[in-house]
């Protein structure tokens, strides 16, 4: 057994033990040390480099490491074997990564307002906010020597009478605690039940003296970020909200690498464990803690996730999704219970999975479409979810069409050197003085919060301002010089938003040409996706009456700047609306309303899926859009007027 020390740039370290010959990347993964390895350890991407501080590694030099770098201790983790005690420095794929893993706290009033608005819009469309869960209180006669009916029959009869139902189902979880609860409560109990046409299904039984409430858990499992809300199933009140990075991130940044990883021996279990045990369960427990409830009081859960995440969450082979002809194991799947997947919720809780509609358009989009309300309007709207996969739904109350384009994690701050989620310390808005090139920005958090990184909305602003001030050209390369513009030894330019003295981080907060390039590709994917889909139907952007933008890009998104960098079509600003995390608000309404659940399945079945990758014009449209704002300036008439 050797001692392996991982040191982070900010000074933290993680110490673990490993055996002779173990692979360093595997050791890091086991220790939850995030080393970026997009190629999932094939030595092909060169991203998993670490620096030897002391000790030795059995590691060959690859083409990704120059002689000088090798001499100064750089190694690729994926080709390094443990041969003794060793200490390595792990690059900060950013403190951003760790902040992604942090469980956030209760939601702000603005966020709650988004859920309230979604709920009231759904109600306005005629869908009732009623579900089949309720609490039934019953008082039974205590058994005597003359009344020897067994406990289960006694409860069944009491419930039949109280609910006017014929059949009552008592699962094992209830039977197991039944004798104790009945006697402790003197046969005065409250039952959490689901009422359907067959009768009652009893989830739980408690002493009537207790304040029994029914809770539900709505979860959005994103490729990069997982968000959840805990809610009261009767009132719809949100009692906790949290988000965290998806624990699978260390196995690859995108769905393809996750699938590849899941196909390795034991991989499916590993991926399921990463999302359930390492991400969802801690998230749930911390929410329950903050709301002071027991996690077994969560009687229903709704998951909105893309198709791959759904498969990996359920532990189902996702490989066919990746290979032609791209067939998922399921579109709709509602047979899971909490105990099936080892979730920290009531073991009998039903898990609703928002339906997938294609291998790359999943339940996050059907849930988001439900929340966007575009299905309830006669006029044309487009709904855009800015995630790792950018999904676009276009249509109205008569028809809907969807497509997905691979945007990468840039909108959520991934693939950006100082990128981060829209949480405390993120620069969410920025302006730059054209003359002095000095920035002024606003940072999420309390007054005086120091900047740590950039969230999606901040990146949009910075790129738009850099371009407006002529500091970068239309390709995103730096063309002006100044104290805030730097070039590294390879000539790569960057712009410093906050020098480390002023930043809340150990390093400068900056944006590099590579960051800009990554973001420009992401925005190009979205813009070209919208245009190609509309064109294929014989429309152009002028038909759009509403554009709903969703995703973790940050509520501060400046639509005007998003247009001026060519991310969104050049149509009047008042047509745009940011609707937050729509897959989470969709999941929230699905949980609360039986009719909404039926509606989302209905939407899923009626939505047409268009495969962009096989569309002949898409690649051209994409390259044309990878320019600020666009190679075809005539698509942005309002910018020419400025």
């Amino acid at each position: 057994m050797f001692q392996i020390t991982f040191k982070f740039e900010n000074g933290d370290d993680v110490i673990v033990h490993a055996l002779q010959g173990e692979n360093l990347l595997e050791v890091a993964r086991k220790a939850n040390v995030a080393i970026d390895a997009p190629c999932s350890g094939n030595a092909s991407c060169g991203k998993c480099r670490v620096k030897l501080l002391s000790g030795e590694l059995d590691s060959q030099q690859t083409r990704h490491i120059t002689d000088e770098e090798y001499a100064s201790g750089y190694r690729l983790a994926c080709v390094s074997k443990i041969v003794g005690d060793v200490s390595v420095e792990v690059p900060d794929i950013a403190s951003a990564y760790k902040s992604r893993m942090k469980v956030a706290d209760l939601s702000s009033p603005e966020e709650i307002a988004i859920f309230e608005k979604t709920k009231s819009q759904i109600v306005d469309s005629g869908i009732q906010m009623v579900n089949d869960l309720s609490v039934v209180e019953v008082q039974m006669d205590e058994p005597t020597l003359d009344d020897t009916m067994p406990d289960n029959e006694r409860l069944t009869r009491a419930l039949q009478e109280a609910g006017g139902v014929e059949k009552v189902t008592l699962p094992y979880f209830v039977i197991k605690k039944l004798p104790d609860v009945l006697r402790d409560s003197h046969f005065h109990v409250k039952c959490v039940v689901k009422k359907n046409k067959h009768g009652f299904y009893v989830y739980d039984i408690k002493d009537a003296a207790e304040d029994v409430k029914v809770y539900g858990l709505a979860v959005d499992i994103g490729t990069t970020t997982v968000s959840a809300v805990l809610l009261n199933m009767e009132s719809g009140e949100i009692i906790a909200k949290a988000s965290a990075g998806n624990g699978q991130i260390r196995f690859g940044a995108d769905v393809i690498n996750r699938i590849i990883e899941s196909c390795k021996p034991g991989g499916r279990e590993k991926m399921q464990k990463a999302i359930i045990e390492e991400t969802l369960n801690p998230l749930t427990l911390s929410m329950c803690q903050s709301a002071k409830i027991g996690s077994d009081q969560i009687y229903r859960m709704c998951v909105a996730a893309n198709s791959t995440m759904n498969h990996l969450f359920a532990g189902v082979n996702a490989d066919p999704l990746r290979c032609e002809p791209y067939i998922p194991a399921f579109f709709e799947m509602n047979g899971f219970k909490g105990a099936d997947l080892g979730l920290e919720i009531n073991p009998n809780a039903r898990i609703i999975i928002a339906p997938n509609i294609g291998s790359y358009v999943g339940g996050d989009i059907t849930a988001g479409t439900l929340a966007s309300m575009i299905w309830d309007k006669p006029e044309f709207s487009v709904f855009i979810d800015l995630g790792t996969n950018g999904e676009i739904v276009f249509g109205n109350s008569d028809f809907m069409m969807s497509c997905a384009c691979s945007a990468g994690p840039a909108f959520e701050g991934g693939d950006i050197s100082c990128g981060m989620r829209a949480t405390d310390g993120a620069i969410e808005a920025c302006t730059i003085d054209a003359e002095t090139m000095e920035p002024s920005y606003s940072v999420i958090g309390d007054e005086g919060e120091k900047p740590v990184g950039l969230c999606g909305s901040g990146i949009i602003d910075v790129i738009s301002e850099l371009f407006r001030c002529g500091i970068i050209n239309a390709k995103g390369l730096f063309v002006r010089e100044g104290k805030r513009v730097r070039h590294d030894e390879f000539g790569m330019g960057s712009y410093v938003l906050a020098f480390k003295e002023d930043a809340g981080s150990v390093k400068d907060v900056e944006i590099t040409e590579v960051d800009i390039d990554n973001f420009v590709r992401a925005k190009g994917a979205i813009f070209s996706g919208i245009n190609v889909m509309l064109e294929s139907l014989g429309f152009d952007v002028s038909v759009l009456e509403h554009v709903y933008v969703a995703g973790g890009i940050g509520s501060g998104i400046n639509m005007k700047n998003a247009i001026s960098i060519g991310m969104l079509p050049d149509i009047p600003l008042e047509k745009y609306e940011y609707i937050g995390n729509s897959s989470l608000s969709g999941a929230y309404t699905i949980l609360l309303s039986k009719e909404a659940e039926e509606k989302v399945h209905d939407l899923g079945r009626n939505m047409t899926y268009m495969e962009l990758s096989t569309h002949p014009g898409y690649m051209d449209a994409f390259v044309a859009a990878c320019f600020i704002p666009h190679t075809d300036a005539s698509l942005f008439p309002s910018l020419a007027q400025r």
Binding site: N473, A474, K475, V479, D620, V623, A624, C626, F627, T631, A633
Partner: protein, 313 residues
């Protein structure tokens, strides 16, 4: 009913770009039609053929090229012969020896040679760099400077070095700028936009959209050339109306059909014939798709392609 020809010229035109000085100066572009659609409108300037010579000499070339240059011992003499080649409209000097991974000659030495060649011939001159973006960024700037007044074509400015090359060749020293991109209509347009934003006039830019040797994914080249001309003429897209120059020989002399010896591939026949065929078919295809000039190496190819152009005009 008798056939009545209805000419359909476009309203838009390809920009006319002049290279070289004096009687032998050439004009590229200027047409309002697709290539050789003379039934729609006259092509004011026939496509041109350039002869490529390297500052590394001709030792490694096929026999026909060696025979042509014969006992010539220096690059200046070689350029004179190239200028006199039958069918040649201009000379292209490729400064291969500047390559830092090769001979790594200094920028000044190469520039001096370029100047000597320019002074020795009266045919228009184009200068190609060594394909190392960084070195070309310095080299072509210096070459532009020493060739001031010669109205030479500088090949090429790319996205990585367009700023220095565009500013010197296109603005400071009055040369013509070749804008090189990798067989993609959007990338070509983007580079033209960048050059224009820098201050280079569209009328001084010639596009090198790149090519592939015939049989090596050429379909994509054809489609790119076609769509570029269609956008320039049909949509009046002035960021794509620059004439197109296509270096052919630098591509074709890298594929196995042209370099495999007869010893290795006896069933393929004469290596020299194959090399010429590759040049001719690729050049013919590019011209038919929209190139306003092609660059070739072998005297037989130059003669054949220039004859083809004459016949089609």
């Amino acid at each position: 009913m008798p056939f009545k020809l209805t000419p359909q010229p476009f309203k838009a035109a390809i920009k006319e770009v002049e290279v070289g000085c004096g009687a032998k100066a050439i004009k590229l572009g200027g047409e309002k039609t697709f290539p050789f659609y003379s039934f729609d409108a006259e092509m004011p300037n026939a496509p041109k053929v350039g002869v490529e010579i390297s500052d590394l000499g001709f030792e490694n070339e096929v026999a026909g090229i060696k025979d042509f240059y014969g006992d010539v011992t220096n690059v200046v003499e070689m350029a004179k012969k190239a200028a006199a080649m039958e069918g040649a409209d201009f000379v292209v000097l490729r400064l291969e020896s500047a390559d830092p991974n090769g001979v790594n000659k200094s920028v000044d030495e190469c520039a001096e040679l370029a100047k000597a060649v320019a002074d020795a011939i009266d045919a228009p001159l184009a200068i190609m760099g060594c394909k190392n973006d960084e070195k070309d960024g310095e080299l072509l700037v210096k070459v532009s400077e020493v060739l001031e007044g010669k109205n030479a074509m500088i090949l090429s400015a790319k996205e990585a070095n367009y700023k220095t090359i565009g500013a010197s060749a296109g603005m400071a020293y009055g040369q013509k700028v070749g804008a090189e991109s990798a067989v993609d209509i959007n990338l070509a347009k983007q580079l033209n936009v960048l050059l224009t934003q820098l201050g280079v006039k569209g009328e001084t830019v010639v596009m090198n959209l790149g090519t592939a040797a015939a049989g090596y994914g050429y379909e994509y080249v054809a489609s790119t050339l076609d769509r570029t001309k269609a956008a320039a003429l049909g949509q009046n897209d002035d960021m794509l109306q620059m004439p197109i120059i296509t270096p052919i020989s630098t591509e074709t002399y890298g594929v196995k059909e042209a370099i495999a010896s007869e010893d290795d591939m006896p069933e393929w026949g004469s290596q020299e014939t194959r090399a010429i065929d590759m040049e001719v078919v690729t050049a013919a295809a590019c011209l038919a798709s929209g190139s306003n000039a092609v660059i070739l190496r072998h005297p037989a190819s130059v003669a054949t392609v220039s004859t083809m152009i004459k016949e089609l005009m």
